[in-house]
């Protein structure tokens, strides 16, 4: 087990290195550079060479990259070109909002997906299966921003309710905070639930054909017990994997929900940074998100060993 963990940790090194190269080089390929943009805005240096020197963009590419990686290793993600604030501080300030939204969305996704997937699996090809599956796929087929717009407009017409423009942190007023996040989280959860539901259904179908389930039926166990004790426990592992894979899609979805519901999270921050070519912020957020996704997926893989004693790491 410890050798497996060590090997997985070592494999993280090239992946993380590739992430930094990708993040660093792709951003520099974006058309419209920051220097021209800054010079067109008032209040910044008028001399192009001086501005490039100030931002450290006059050095060769490999030098900029090496300096960046050196700083990242010390926990320094640089400062924003525009606000001059440290990027890590800005990310950490916005992270709780996106994280809370993502966790709530995952919660709603599971609440919808697990019962739906199980019912759909054990009642395969019945009307119940068809209804559950088409509703789940229906949730996946409607663009999230469209549902959000329809909900906001509908609520404002019929109940004169509009989403609050100011965000209230969880620590200040939990009830107010949750009432603000529940709607975007349910909308995000809807799209998420479809893939988790499909995986739950296929796994339930697969496990139902296993010999030990046949034995359980043969013993005369009631359906409730067969499903709860034998099917569910064994069907859950790939479902956990799908949840891990959905993490990065979920973080992408928060970009849209944050801009519709005016939530000061990382998604909105990233969108603004792309518009303003704020390299350190784009790099910082991408690096932060990608590293987070990779570490969480590693954690999920390691949890398997505890979930299923049959899995042994070689």
């Amino acid at each position: 087990m410890s050798r497996y963990v060590l090997r997985r940790l070592l494999l993280l090194v090239p992946t993380l290195a590739l992430i930094t190269v990708l993040v660093f080089s792709i951003i520099r390929l974006l058309p419209g550079d920051i220097v021209t943009l800054m010079m067109s805005e008032q209040g910044y240096a008028g001399d192009k060479a001086k501005l490039e020197q100030m931002l450290g963009l006059d050095k060769p590419f490999y030098w900029q990259y090496a300096t960046y990686v050196g700083k990242v290793l010390q926990g320094d993600l640089g400062v924003s070109f525009w606000t001059k604030e440290p990027v890590l501080d800005e990310i950490l300030r916005r992270l709780p909002v996106s994280l809370e939204l993502a966790v709530l969305a995952m919660f709603f996704g599971l609440v919808i997906a697990l019962p739906a997937g199980i019912v759909s699996g054990i009642r395969q090809d019945t009307w119940l299966d068809y209804v559950v599956r088409s509703s789940a796929i229906g949730g996946l087929s409607v663009p999230g921003f469209w549902i959000a717009t329809v909900v906001i407009v509908g609520a404002s017409i019929w109940w004169q309710w509009v989403p609050p423009m100011r965000y209230t942190p969880l620590t200040r007023d939990p009830v107010r905070n949750l009432s603000q996040l529940v709607l975007p989280a349910i909308i995000l959860g809807l799209a998420l639930s479809a893939s988790i539901m499909r995986m739950t259904r296929s796994m339930v179908l697969e496990v139902l054909r296993e010999d030990y389930v046949r034995t359980a039926w043969a013993k005369g166990l009631p359906e409730r017990l067969v499903v709860a004790r034998h099917v569910l426990k064994n069907a859950m592992i790939p479902v956990v994997t799908v949840m891990g894979l959905q993490l990065s899609a979920l973080l992408g979805g928060t970009v849209i929900m944050e801009s519709i519901f005016v939530l000061p999270g990382m998604g909105k921050f990233l969108l603004d940074a792309i518009t303003w070519r704020d390299y350190p912020v784009i790099q910082g957020i991408n690096l932060f998100l990608a590293t987070g996704v990779i570490l969480l997926n590693l954690l999920i893989d390691l949890i398997y060993g505890f979930l299923d004693p049959r899995i042994r790491y070689g």
């Binding site: 974006l30 090809d125 792309i274």
Partner: protein
């Protein structure tokens, strides 16, 4: 055929939806009652009526004609993006799965890296790099969808590679190229088909998200995503039909692709066929 429809009614429903979409896309100029991009300021923001069955937009353009022509754009976009992502994924998946070893390790690390980035973030970055335009959206969606598909195709190749007929082919002196084209490819056609069908839905949906964030197909092209996110959202209270109908069109198309893809997977994967208990 009838047995298949009876056993997979949702898949059949998906198939019908896609058939309607394809026919609409092919016959768009014949079916559309008006020119989809001709501005008519005297008929701005008209509610659905007999003259304009789905109403008109803020430029007085007929929504029904735009939705019909939008089917063309969506099909073009979906097929283009899926062709790119499937081709790249098949090449990467086969090289990685068939040859294995170091090249597999390197390719898999690259895919791990790409998959760690949120899909929408990758799309936004590629679009910011390429600039707006239908061709660029297709390219971005194609590149964005490659990593996930490559992983699925690789696992399919790994499963096929271990079969005895591959061993026999190798023992009889077949070249790698012949084994890949004659034995591996036909046997991984099923997962490729499933991945491509589901990918079409993802592409249509992703285009609408890109449009919403201002990186989609530029006006006046009648793309469903652009219709529902640009002025469609602005006039949502005044003229809800502007965003509602393209929204329904997107949802039905994506629903169709997903249902058809799911049914294909069930039919092509014998393990999931009914017959338990």
């Amino acid at each position: 055929m009838f047995r298949l429809i009876r056993s997979k009614p949702l898949g059949a429903l998906g198939g019908v939806l896609i058939l309607v979409l394809v026919v609409t896309a092919l016959l768009a100029p014949v079916l559309a009652p008006y020119d989809p991009i001709k501005v008519n300021s005297r008929e701005r923001l008209q509610a659905p009526s007999l003259n304009h069955l789905l109403g008109t937009d803020d430029f007085g353009r007929d929504i029904l004609s735009r939705v019909i022509h939008g089917a063309r754009i969506s099909m073009l976009l979906g097929l283009g993006a899926v062709a790119i992502s499937t081709l790249l994924a098949v090449i990467i998946g086969i090289v990685s799965g068939y040859y294995g070893g170091r090249i597999d390790i390197v390719l898999q690390r690259c895919i791990d890296t790409l998959m760690a980035f949120p899909g929408l973030v990758v799309l936004l970055t590629i679009m910011a790099m390429l600039g707006q335009g239908l061709g660029n959206v297709i390219l971005a969606l194609g590149i964005g969808g490659t990593a996930g598909n490559a992983r699925i195709i690789r696992s399919a190749v790994l499963a096929v590679r271990e079969n005895q007929y591959i061993e026999v082919a190798r023992a009889t002196g077949c070249q790698d190229w012949r084994i890949i084209t004659r034995h591996i490819l036909p046997n991984i056609a099923a997962p490729i088909m499933v991945v491509a069908t589901l990918g079409l839905g993802v592409a249509v949906l992703a285009e609408s998200a890109l449009s919403f964030l201002g990186f989609g197909v530029p006006p006046p092209t009648p793309s469903w995503g652009a219709m529902l996110s640009g002025s469609g959202r602005t006039y949502m209270i005044q003229a809800p039909w502007m965003a509602v109908f393209p929204g329904i069109a997107i949802s039905l198309a994506v629903f169709g692709f997903n249902m058809l893809g799911d049914a294909l997977r069930d039919v092509l994967d014998p393990k999931l066929r009914k017959g338990h208990q």
